[in-house]
């Protein structure tokens, strides 16, 4: 956004972003297309695009003259493509929720901005139309970090609706940062699922030719159109190369790198399958298969928002539990250390978590114990201190990741109440808990 002086000058001359202008500052002449100004930085800098395509910033000062040489075309619009439908292909719904995968340059902030038209993506990945009849649903345009359980429910309803309207599978484009929370929520919420629900995203924005969005979308659509998986999964790059993607169970996937293409890894399990860009699917582990009998997909969409995820660390103040209980929280997932530890008898007794866990449990709240190690299983028996935490009332959550346990507890509390939630938290309902910890490389 331009500052007051510059905006006034532009308005006075009826100049809009995209117009070709001539700026005169004494003997200096600058000609180019007026570009939008980034929000941050010096707002008196006028940015023009030169003929050679480069942008340059010119500081505005009083006495500068400006002329409009030619009117621009108004807003910059990317080309779009509508989906052409073929009878021989299955219908796959593409639910667009936002994120890097559907983003372009935002000239207002200089940052990456969510696309408002999914058709722009279809223009850039025309291959999708040879894989399935893509039905695009522009549900929302929300950054990953702004997602809440309200959006999870909304997405869940859209997924159920898509299946019930005849879609073979559903793809969801999503920001990557919290994609594993959404995938876990959908895994629990969707009832009677009879086809693949594939979340996908991009670590590099789709406005660059090297974006991982293209291959992720192609692979995800192969899964959605051709696989018999009846689960929620995340489909993203298996490695930094553009060779294969992995379909990871929605309750076993986690983002483990800030920027790499293969940021999502299966934790405590193997991927369901890998898929290459040509559509070859290689199944790697057992999964729930779609049955031939069509059933109606429904949504169990209760979610207790007064559920918290709390990390234990050396010196951490267990009073945080009091804080949450004071605010009426009914569920707390603890991220303990190692096998599921919190401080039991520290030199400063006020740092012990045991009495706080007891208080919470006796008040009726559910306290779940997970591990910040992520990999592996918690255990309430190996050490005395573990037994003390368990005796205090903490429910040990097996090989469930903290984030998944958090979503599951919110889901259980929202739909079944505290008693049932306590019972069901350590019991597998959507593949989030495995009885045996299989050996995996890496």
């Amino acid at each position: 956004m331009y500052g007051k002086d510059v905006s006034a000058l532009l308005d006075k001359h009826g100049i809009r972003v995209g117009d070709t202008i001539l700026l005169l500052a004494g003997p200096e002449r600058y000609e180019g297309v007026l570009m939008p100004r980034v929000d941050v930085g010096d707002s008196s800098i006028i940015v023009i695009k030169r003929k050679d395509g480069y942008n340059m910033g010119i500081k505005y000062h009083a006495g500068m003259k400006i002329h409009k040489l030619a009117a621009g075309k108004g807003e910059f619009e990317f080309p779009t493509a509508g989906a052409e439908h073929s009878r021989s292909l299955d219908t796959v719904s593409l639910i667009y929720t936002g994120g890097t995968i559907g983003s372009k340059v935002d000239y207002r902030t200089g940052g990456v901005y969510m696309l408002t038209k999914p058709q722009e993506l279809l223009y850039e990945v025309p291959e999708l139309q040879d894989i399935a009849n893509i039905h695009v649903s522009n549900l929302m345009s929300i950054a990953s970090e702004d997602m809440t359980c309200t959006e999870w429910k909304k997405i869940g309803r859209e997924v159920a609706g898509a299946f019930n309207a005849g879609s073979k599978g559903v793809m969801i484009t999503h920001g990557t940062d919290t994609m594993h929370y959404t995938s876990a929520a959908l895994s629990f919420m969707l009832q009677g699922l009879n086809g693949p629900v594939v979340l996908t995203g991009a670590q590099r924005s789709s406005d660059r030719g090297s974006s991982d969005a293209f291959m992720n979308l192609i692979c995800a659509s192969h899964i959605a159109a051709k696989s018999d998986v009846a689960e929620v999964g995340i489909c993203m790059h298996s490695t930094p190369s553009d060779n294969t993607c992995s379909l990871i169970r929605g309750v076993k996937a986690r983002k483990l790198h800030t920027s790499r293409r293969d940021a999502f890894r299966p934790v405590n399990g193997s991927p369901i399958a890998t898929v290459d860009i040509g559509g070859a699917i290689d199944y790697k582990s057992k999964y729930r298969k779609a049955s031939k009998h069509k059933s109606r997909v429904s949504l169990l969409d209760g979610f207790e928002e007064k559920t918290a995820l709390v990390k234990f660390y050396p010196n951490s103040d267990p009073g945080i539990i009091d804080f949450y209980l004071g605010k009426g929280y009914r569920g707390i997932i603890l991220e303990g250390t190692g096998l599921g530890h919190v401080a039991v008898s520290p030199s400063r007794s006020e740092l012990s978590w045991i009495s706080r866990i007891k208080d919470a449990a006796s008040s009726g709240a559910v306290v779940g114990m997970t591990s910040q190690c992520l990999y592996g299983r918690v255990n309430s028996a190996v050490y005395r201190n573990l037994r003390m935490a368990a005796d205090a009332g903490a429910v040990y959550c097996e090989d469930m990741m903290p984030e998944v346990a958090y979503v599951k507890l919110g889901f259980l509390l929202g739909n079944y109440g505290e008693k049932k939630a306590r019972e069901m938290l350590p019991v597998d309902i959507a593949g989030e808990i495995t009885k045996r910890t299989e050996y995996t490389e890496g």
């Binding site: 200096e28 980034v38 941050v40 930085g41 010096d42 800098i45 940015v47 695009k49 030169r50 003929k51 050679d52 395509g53 480069y54 942008n55 340059m56 910033g57 010119i58 500081k59 910059f76 619009e77 990317f78 080309p79 340059v105 935002d106 000239y107 200089g110 940052g111 990456v112 850039e124 670590q203 590099r204 924005s205 789709s206 406005d207 660059r208 030719g209 090297s210 974006s211 293209f214 291959m215 490695t239 930094p240 190369s241 553009d242 060779n243 800030t258 920027s259 790499r260 293409r261 860009i277």
Partner: protein, 620 residues
């Protein structure tokens, strides 16, 4: 060679783009070394890229062309010289402030104005040379100028950008790149098309190179160079057009000696192409559609056809009406219109095309096969044909490219980016269509950089400019030839480092650096020593502790430290004998002719005694 008036008549226009690596420690957008040699490959990453719409929603013609080639790219990663940023797995870090400072320093050396704010941009490159599919580039200077080649050359623009990666190998469906050098900061200097002849272009290129090398930063009592030196650190691109022709860019000339001949040939090429266009249009020439003749030629014993057919491929031909003789017409040494068309076809991964102006016997095509092709295509006398044999998909793509190029022969000299084919002959080949401005869009991962008057003032205060440096050297080194050699020597910074610390011995330092070191290198002595080793030797000389002759003797040992130098001097021994010691030595020689005395002493103490001092004492 033609003179300037010949080029003037043709409407010759020519400008240069010089790309030079900066001498920063780190790369432009990450902290990988910008200097280190490649270490071993630690990982390989394979990628695909595609053209995307630019800032104005337009796909650039060069990027959509590359994208249609459907190749994949493999990037070799290295431990110390590449990181996740280089392989597009991590956003860029802050722009290297040293690189910005150096670029602005050079902008001031070329008399260029600088923008009030530098906007990092992305320039799409889909040939795979950048894993991110764009090169980051910043416009940092404009409207500069230099005196060169007998005239005033305007510098239209200067850019600070990332070096691309180097090709390791190429195959039909993929290219392997080494990404160790990607991201090293480069400065690009573009001249306006003010150049009037190929010879002048060469002189301008030499002058720009000299300014780049001799502009430096004054620090630590010496001058820190702005740019790297050595093979591959500077590249010239030339832009050439003539009246009726078009702007063509020849990229990546590493040898400055070939600049003039490359330009002469490009002019010649455009002249010939325009002549061909005229005669083709007069003949009402036309380009036909490709036809699949696999069934007609499947029994052919021509090697290229046999190979394609046996692996399930196809043979496709197209009639070029009225093109007979034109395809074989020479437009440059060893280059014909046919080779131009073949270059386009090669972009699909095929080895090339066969055309009817060639000696078809050479390929093993029989006369009856040729007649059969002509018949199938309906080709008459005066018509030509082109043939390609490969996999069906490659054939179709190759034919598409070849036909496009053949059509252009009827209308224009195509705007192209070309690469050097043979620098001795000065020939070039087609690389890709000339890019337009639509391949630029903002680098949104980086903030813009403000440049204030204060920034520029601070920079120019510490800048040593070419003129200052040259006139100082000319004054310091009385031998004009030696002074010119020093100005162009890569060891100039060494000379300056030493002479600013060991005073009054400029000529000895210059002759040692320019002559003695070369002599030692010819005897396979390692002269790549630390500058402080050199300084310790010359300091001893300046203090009268060793003679000039001893300098070369010490260097013969390639000492690694100043301490080693001391050791060499005391063990050999190489200490200078002078004053009363020298007088004693003279006395010892007894009663002799002066000349005999000198000879006797010098034969024994050549490295310890200064001849001049000896002569003075004996003569006095």
């Amino acid at each position: 060679m033609h003179d300037a008036s010949y080029y003037k008549k043709l409407g010759f226009r020519c400008g240069l783009e010089i790309h030079q690596r900066l001498a920063t420690k780190e790369k432009l957008f990450c902290s990988c070394s910008a200097q280190t040699e490649s270490d071993t490959v630690i990982a390989r990453v394979s990628r695909r890229q595609r053209a995307v719409a630019g800032e104005l929603g337009i796909v650039d013609r060069s990027t959509s062309f590359e994208s249609s080639r459907e190749r994949s790219f493999v990037y070799n990663m290295f431990k110390d010289t590449s990181c996740l940023v280089d392989v597009d797995e991590e956003p860029p870090h802050m722009v290297n402030p040293d690189a910005i400072e150096t670029a602005l320093r050079l902008a001031s050396a070329f008399g260029a104005k600088v923008p009030d704010e530098i906007e990092p941009m992305r320039k799409q490159v889909v040939d795979g040379s950048d894993p991110s599919s764009f090169q980051r580039s910043m416009f940092i200077g404009y409207e500069g100028g230099i005196d060169a080649g007998g005239g005033r050359m305007r510098i239209s623009s200067m850019f600070l950008e990332e070096e691309s990666s180097g090709i390791e190998s190429t195959a039909s469906d993929h290219v392997v790149y080494n990404i160790d050098r990607i991201g090293i900061p480069l400065i690009e200097i573009d001249t306006d098309p003010d150049i009037t002849s190929p010879q002048q272009a060469k002189e301008v290129a030499l002058k720009i190179g000299l300014i780049l090398r001799l502009t430096g930063k004054r620090e630590d009592g010496g001058v820190t160079p702005c740019v790297q030196r050595g093979i591959g650190t500077i590249r010239q691109d030339v832009n050439v057009s003539i009246e009726g022709g078009t702007r063509v860019e020849v990229k990546g000339l590493q040898e400055i000696d070939s600049v003039d001949v490359i330009i002469e040939n490009e002019v010649e090429r455009q002249v010939r192409l325009l002549e061909l266009k005229k005669s083709l249009v007069a003949k009402k020439a036309a380009v036909g559609s490709p036809k699949d003749l696999t069934h007609r030629l499947q029994a052919s014993s021509a090697k290229i056809i046999k190979e394609a057919v046996s692996s399930g491929g196809a043979v496709m031909c197209a009639r070029l009406e009225g093109f007979a003789g034109a395809l074989g017409a020479q437009i440059n040494p060893d280059r014909r219109l046919g080779s131009e068309i073949s270059d386009y076809a090669k972009m699909s991964g095929v080895k090339g095309i066969i055309h009817s102006d060639e000696n078809l016997d050479r390929y093993g095509l029989t006369d009856s096969e040729v007649s059969s092709i002509r018949k199938e295509l309906g080709a008459e006398d005066g018509d030509a044909f082109i043939l390609v044999a490969a996999s069906k998909a490659a054939c179709e793509r190759a034919m598409g490219f070849a036909i496009d190029r053949a059509r252009m022969a009827l209308s224009q000299v195509p705007p192209e980016t070309r690469a050097v084919l043979d620098s001795k002959k000065g020939t070039t080949r087609f690389m890709r269509p000339l890019p337009g401005g639509s391949r630029m869009y903002p680098e949104t991962d980086c903030k813009a950089i403000a440049v204030t008057k204060g920034t520029m003032g601070g920079i120019s205060k510490y800048t040593v400019y070419l003129e200052e440096r040259v006139s100082r050297i000319r004054k310091e080194i009385p031998n004009p030839q030696l002074a010119e050699q020093m100005i162009h020597s890569p060891r100039l910074p060494l000379y300056e480092y030493i002479t600013s610390r060991a005073k009054g011995i400029n000529l000895v330092v210059a002759t040692t650096i320019l002559e003695k070191l070369r002599e030692l290198e010819r005897s396979a002595v390692n002269t790549d020593l630390d500058r402080d080793v050199f300084l310790s030797i010359f300091s001893m000389y300046a203090q009268g502790k060793i003679t000039k002759a001893a300098i070369g003797e010490i260097l013969r040992y390639s000492p690694k430290t100043a301490k080693e130098v001391q050791g060499i001097v005391s063990t050999n021994p190489l200490q200078r004998i002078s004053g009363s010691d020298l007088k004693k030595l003279i006395k010892k020689t007894g009663k002799k002719e002066s000349g005999d005395k000198v000879r006797e002493i010098m034969s024994k103490y050549r490295l310890n005694v200064d001849g001049e001092e000896l002569n003075t004492i004996i003569g006095g």
